[in-house]
């Protein structure tokens, strides 16, 4: 049953399937009922499953997350939609102090199978607070799993896996990919799918390992294609899960190529890239031919829409970094760092 679907429709299908498979699954958030969410990801669910399971909540993010905790206490599996990345901060206390810690606090007696869906990151010309990349805050929080999807098939499967997982999962949906289309196997069983914690080599290569997640995977692939024209072979890995990271896949690649570039939209300082490079350095120091490189957003508040293209890592900035790890002179050579 393969179908050509946008990522938005794939997510909608994933939610519908999870709701049908388990009557403990409930979906909650602002405007997710009649409206179907501001991105229409929950479109039609209220007609099919009814208001008790598709809950239009009051406009209070801590309230949404805190009541999800209570529902999970009662044995439900809440799927929470945070309307936009920049609005997760009022819920941060409940996520960090409660959702992430309750299993540990209760010595395993209470589970928090909550999925926090976050329409995420930039590149869509949005207003302030609508383009943030807060993933590092969650990756730094033990007790949470953090994943980011990059294509419709993963969106469909990983969302179902996240909902079925007994741990809380922060689920990042790149909003600039909501309308990208690809084949989705709607009949697929999550038992047969690759675990959501596994990374995937999306393009094989031999010279440089390029790590990306979310919408950056497409940019990374573009960079690899461009590099190929110049005779450089880049291996692109879609991390899929950024907590935990699938290090066996990552280190196998680095041991082969000896060179690493990480790219993400989030700011650089103490970001996911810093963690990846620290871990890779520990695990593969003797295999590295050059110091790893990060290509990230600047350490600035997210800029206004007209300037965001100067913030988001693009193909050229990635290729610059590739040149540096290959120790080739490039446009930035000579800049002290």
């Amino acid at each position: 049953m393969s179908e050509l679907l946008t990522m938005g429709k794939a997510l909608n299908a994933g939610l519908r399937r999870a709701l049908a498979d388990d009557d403990k699954v409930i979906v909650m958030g602002e405007d997710i009922g009649r409206l179907g969410g501001v991105f229409r990801i929950t479109d039609g669910l209220i007609d099919e499953f009814g208001a008790p399971r598709i809950i239009d909540t009051p406009l209070a993010e801590s309230g949404i997350m805190g009541t999800a905790v209570g529902l999970a206490f009662r044995g439900f599996r809440p799927v929470v939609e945070i309307q936009f990345d920049g609005f997760v901060y009022p819920a941060f206390d409940q996520i960090v102090c409660q959702v992430a810690k309750l299993h540990y606090r209760t010595r395993g007696n209470v589970t928090m199978p909550i999925t926090v869906r976050i329409p995420w990151a930039g590149g869509v010309g949005a207003a302030e607070h609508h383009s943030e990349s807060p993933e590092a805050y969650f990756v730094h929080t033990s007790g949470l799993r953090v994943v980011a999807v990059s294509n419709p098939q993963d969106a469909y499967m990983m969302l179902r896996q996240a909902i079925a997982c007994d741990d809380p999962v922060v689920f990042f949906e790149p909003k600039r990919l909501y309308h990208t289309k690809d084949e989705v196997d709607l009949g697929a069983d999550i038992a047969d799918a690759a675990p959501m914690g596994l990374a995937r080599v999306v393009r094989a290569g031999t010279d440089v390992t390029l790590l990306a997640y979310g919408a950056q995977v497409a940019t990374a692939l573009d960079a690899a294609t461009a590099a190929d024209d110049e005779g450089t072979s880049i291996e692109v890995i879609d991390l899929r899960s950024i907590s935990p990271v699938d290090y066996p896949t990552v280190t196998a690649s680095v041991r082969k190529t000896g060179r690493v570039v990480v790219t993400h939209e989030a700011a650089r300082e103490a970001g996911v890239g810093a963690e990846l490079i620290a871990s890779i350095t520990e695990k593969c120091f003797h295999y590295l031919e050059a110091a790893p490189e990060r290509v990230t957003g600047h350490d600035i508040p997210y800029p206004p829409a007209k300037l965001e293209k100067h913030h988001l890592p693009d193909l050229d900035r990635i290729l610059d970094a590739v040149d540096r790890v290959l120790e080739r002179p490039n446009s930035l050579s000579g800049v002290e760092s």
Binding site: A60, M65, A68, G70, Q94, Q98, G108, R145
Partner: protein, 376 residues
Amino acid sequence: MTKMHTLTPSTETSTDLDDLARLLTPDGERIPDRQLDPWISDLDTDAMRGLYRDMAIARRLDIEGVALQRQGQLGLWAPAQGQEAVQVGTARACRDDDFLFPSYRELGVQLVRGAKPADFILAWRGEMHSTYNPYELSLATPQIIIGAQALHAAGYAMGIQRDGGDQVAVAYFGDGATSQGDVNEAMVFSSSFQAPMVFVCSNNQWAISEPVTVQAKFPIAGRAPGFGIPSLRVDGNDVLACLAAMRWATDHARSGKGPAFIEAVTYRMGPHTTSDDPTRYRNAEQVAAWRERDPITRLEAHLRAQDAFDDAFAAEVESDADEFTAGMRAAALGAVTRPPIEVLDDVYAEPHSGIAEQRERFASYLSGFADEEAQR
């Protein structure tokens, strides 16, 4: 309804301590209250003696907790002396399958729900974050983050609705917590969804050093109606009033009418915790005045007036309290700290490669000490 173009609070004090619903005067005299009386019409002297016993044990275990902390056995203790009536009275009004979400100060609630002596000290000792399984006592682990548990109760109550259950979820918190967004958001959620939930605010007049007037310029019970939630402001040192109010509130919630709110006006007789110095911020006269309202002597006076309190009963309660606190002491002195590797347990419910790797490394690091251990 008359037109409501303005809503002006009719009183400005949040500490009007005599305008409270009560059934026992501070001297233990039973006084009628049309609203509360029907809710305890079944209460005989035996039941009242049970309330007395719970309160007396709660107080003794509190004294024991302070002593254990002073002796270096516990890192910290949060005394509840003076608050026994609200804790015991409201918890006794609940059904065993009602789910309660307490704060760190609800000793009497934990006791009523069946917590064991060790449950009162192992967390304060730092041995584990929680001892009992919340599902066995229908009691969540005591909450440290002020007000967070109100939302958990609201969500749990929404779950009860979805299960078609007839339980009630209860959130316990202090007066300081009413300033938190979470408590206010819990009122919005539970009211909007008519969830079967009860809010129990123990207004003990202080949030560490801040008087309740910093949190509220109007009686706290007056806030709930603004959220569409009926409320009662009761004398929190009158266990009969607390029991009656809570029966009213749980009945209201259980019968599908939505949440209810109780403000129990009481006083924290001791420090906020064993690290606090209340002489810096409150005066001795105030404490002395509250001593006159003690919830335990109040009920004792009432029972004595009915010839339902004699030396034999007092001795029996005393011996139960001795036994309970001896259990606490034994649990503290006999506590065995868990093996170091367990620090990595239960972070996740399912296998997690990051934790697995850290566990492996830590285990191999620990095994380096195996020889040393064997020689000892």
